[in-house]
Amino acid sequence: MAEHESSYTPSNAFMKWVDDRLPIVRFSKEHLMDYPTPKNLNYWWTFGGILAMMLGIQILTGIVLAMHYTPQQDLAFDSVELIKRDVNFGRFIQSVHETGATMFFFAVYVHIFRGLYFGSYKAPREILWMLGVLIFLLMMATAFMGYVLPWGQMSFWAATVITNIFAAIPVIGDPLLSLLRGGFAVGNPTLNRFFSLHYLLPFVIAAVVVLHIWALHVPGNNNPVGVEVKSSRDTVPFHPYYTMKDLFGIVVFLIPFAWLVFFEPDIIGNPSNYIMANPLQTPPEIVPEWYFLPFYAILRSIDFNLLFINSKLLGVIFFGAAILILFFVPWLDRSKVRSGTFRPLFKPFYWLFVINFLMLMWLGSQPVGDAAHWWVPIVGKIGVFYYFFYFLIVLPFLPRIEVPRPLPASISESVLRPART
C-alpha cells in the first residue's frame, strides 16, 4: 500500500521543478488515482465517498446561508424564513442544507454499520475507526448547534434540554452549563456562540476527515471478505475503477436527496419549528431530530437511581457511554475473523443490534409520561440492555464459542469462487 512505487513522472521541466519543491501532483496521483484498492468492494463502500460529498455540500450551502442569516434572537427566525422567500435560490440552498443533515446522518449510519459488520475497525485500522467515531461526535455537535440557529420553538427547547444534559455532570456541571449557554438560560448569547461554533466545527470535521483518509491509506481498505490484500492481483487503481463506481453511487444517492429537497423539504422537520422561539411556552412535546433519537431513548430510559448515582446522572452516563463505547470496539471484539460474512453466530446478534438500534430510534420519538405510554421506559430498558450487551458481551465473548467458516486464501480467490453466504 504505502510502499507502492510512485508512477508519476513530471511531464516537463517546470513540473519537475515543482515536483522537487512541492510534490503535490505526485501526492495527488498516488493517493487519488493510483491508490491500490481491493477489487471486491461492494456498494456499501461507496458511502465513504458519499460522506465526503455531503460534507462538501453542507459547507458550501452553509457558507451561502451564513451570508444571509442573522444570529440575533429577535431576527434569526425571520432571517431564515426570508432566505427561503427572497434570496435567489434561497429556497433550494436552505432546503439542501436542512435535508442535507438528514442525508448526511443517514449515510454516516450506513457507513458505521458497514464497519461494524465487516470488522473494519480491527487491527491495523483502530485509529482509522477512532477518527471516524470522532467525526461522528463532531457531526452530532455540529448538527445540534445548527438545529438551534433557525430559532424556532423546537430549536430553543432542544437547546434547553440538550445543554441541560451537561448540568448532570458532578462539580463542573453547572459552570459548564453556563459556559455553553452564555448565561443561566438559553438566549441570545447561546445563539451567538452556537452560530460561531456551527461555522467552525465543519472545518474541524474536514481536518479530521483528512486524518481519517490518511489513516485509511496506510493499511488500505478493508473489504467484504476481510482478508488482507496479498498481491497486486487483489487490487485495482482507485481511478478510474472506484472514482467512477463511487460517482455512480453518489448520483443514485442524490435521487432520494433531491426528492426531499424539491418535493418534501419539510417532512423531516418538526412543525413546532415554524413557530418562533418563545421561552415562556413549552411546546406540547420536545422531540430531537431523528438522528439523535436512539441516544435520546437511551438517556430517557434510565429513570432509576443506582447506588449513590441519581437517575439524572446515570442517564447521562449511559448516554455518553453509548457513544464513547464505539471508541473501544476495536479491542472489545476479540474475533480473529474480520468479516461478519464468515461468522455464523455473529450474524444474528449483529442484525438484532441493527433492529434494536432502529427500535430505540422509534422509541425516542414516542411520548412518555402519560398512562397510554407506560411501556416506553420498559421497552427502552430492554433496548439499552441489548445495546450494551452487544458491545460488552457479544463482541468479546462470542468468538470463544464461535467456529468461523473457512476464509478464502485471498481476495482474488474469493472473487473467482464466491463463498456461499
Binding site: K39, R91, I275
Partner: protein
C-alpha cells in the same frame, strides 16, 4: 468450547444486575415528587429541564399563556375532555409531486383573509408584492399597486407618521403591538399567518407517516385548519366546562379555543368567474380557500420548487444511467 460457561456467567450476571434495578424502577412513580427523580415524567425529562423550564413557565401562568397553541387550555379542561376526532385529509390542488396552487382558489382565499381573518391575524412575512409573483394569486403589477395604496402604512419617517402602502410594504399588522392584540382578543394573541400552515399538522400514525415519504403528504396544516374551521359547536358537550370567553371546537387541543367562529355561510361574496361559474359561499368552501391561501403564504415557492424538482430528477436519472454504463464498461475486464 470450554469457555461456554463464561458467556453464560456474563449473561447471568447482567440479568441479575437488571433484576437488581427492578426495585429501584418500581419506586419511581411513587417518588415523582422527589427532586431526584424528575427525569421520569415529561418528554423534556432530560436531566434538569423540569427545574429550569419551570422558572419561566411559572411566571406566565396568567390566562394568556394558553394563547398560541392552547396547551394551557388543554390542561385546564383535561378532566372531561372528549377525544379529538380523527382529522380527514382533504383533496388539495397542491398535494403530491404534480400538485400546484389553484390561482383562483388563492384569490378567493386572499379575499377571505383580507375581509375576515386579517382583522385579527397578522402576516408579517407577507408583502403586497408577493401577490404578483409567479406561483401565487398572480395579480397584475397594477392591481397590486392599487391594492397596496388603499392601505395606510405606519412609517415613522413619513410626514405625519403615515403614508399609503406600496407593493414592497409588508401586510399591515391589525394591532400596533402584541399587547394590544392580546387585550383585544380576551388575552389570546391571534397567531401570525406567515408560517401558520406549516406550524400546524395532524396526527400521522404508523404506517401513514412512512407512506408520506412516497406520497409527499405535507398538507397537515391546511387539513388541520379546514377541520378547525368546521369543528365549532354552539354548545360544549354535556360535562365539559368551557372557560368564559372560550369557544368549543372538536379539533382544537383541549377543545377550548379563544377564537370565536370566524366564518359563516355567505360572509364573503365571491365574484362569478368570466364564464359565469360560481363557487359555493359556505363555511366549508371558505375554509378550503383560506387554508390554501395560508399554505401559499407559508410556502410561496412551492410551484417553482416542484418544477425545478422535475428537471433535477430527469437529469439525475439520466446521469445515473450513464454512470452505470460507464462503471460497467470500466469494470468489464476485472473479475470482482
Amino acid at each position: 468450547m470450554i469457555q461456554r460457561p463464561n458467556i453464560l456467567a456474563a449473561v447471568l450476571a447482567t440479568v441479575v444486575l437488571t433484576a437488581g434495578m427492578a426495585p429501584a424502577l418500581a419506586q419511581t412513580p411513587a417518588a415523582t415528587a422527589a427532586p431526584a427523580s424528575t427525569s421520569a415524567a415529561s418528554p423534556q425529562n432530560a436531566p434538569g429541564t423540569a427545574a429550569s423550564a419551570a422558572a419561566p413557565t411559572g411566571g406566565a401562568t396568567n390566562p394568556s399563556s394558553s394563547a398560541n397553541n392552547g396547551s394551557g387550555a388543554a390542561q385546564a379542561a383535561a378532566a372531561v375532555s372528549p377525544p379529538v376526532p380523527e382529522i380527514e385529509t382533504q383533496p388539495w390542488s397542491f398535494a403530491g409531486i404534480f400538485g400546484r396552487y389553484d390561482k383562483n382558489q388563492l384569490r378567493r382565499g386572499f379575499q377571505v383573509f383580507r375581509q375576515v381573518c386579517s382583522n385579527c391575524h397578522s402576516a408579517h412575512l407577507f408583502f403586497f408584492r408577493n401577490l404578483q409573483e409567479p406561483g401565487g394569486p398572480e395579480y397584475s403589477a397594477d392591481q397590486v399597486k392599487a391594492l397596496a395604496a388603499t392601505y395606510t402604512i405606519a412609517d415613522p419617517s413619513a410626514p405625519g407618521g403615515k403614508r399609503p402602502g406600496v407593493p414592497s410594504d409588508a401586510w399591515p399588522n391589525p394591532f400596533p403591538s402584541e399587547q394590544a392584540a392580546r387585550d383585544a382578543n380576551g388575552g389570546a394573541v391571534p397567531p401570525d399567518w406567515s408560517e401558520l400552515a406549516k406550524a400546524r399538522t395532524i396526527e400521522r400514525p404508523f404506517p401513514l407517516w412512512l407512506f408520506d415519504f412516497f406520497t409527499t403528504y405535507q398538507e397537515g396544516g391546511p387539513d388541520y385548519v379546514h377541520a378547525l374551521m368546521n369543528g365549532y359547536h354552539d354548545k360544549p358537550p354535556a360535562g365539559f366546562t368551557l372557560p368564559a370567553g372560550k369557544y368549543y371546537n372538536d379539533y382544537f387541543p383541549g377543545h377550548a379555543i379563544s377564537m370565536p367562529p370566524p366564518l359563516t355561510d355567505g360572509i364573503v361574496k365571491y365574484a362569478p368567474g368570466a364564464d359565469g361559474s360560481t363557487v359555493p359561499e359556505t363555511v366549508d368552501q371558505y375554509s378550503r380557500d383560506a387554508a390554501a391561501f395560508m399554505m401559499w403564504l407559508g410556502d410561496p415557492t412551492l410551484d417553482g420548487r416542484k418544477e425545478a424538482g422535475f428537471r433535477v430528477f430527469v437529469f439525475l436519472i439520466l446521469f445515473a444511467v450513464i454512470m452505470w454504463m460507464v462503471k460497467r464498461r470500466i469494470w468489464a475486464n476485472v473479475e470482482h
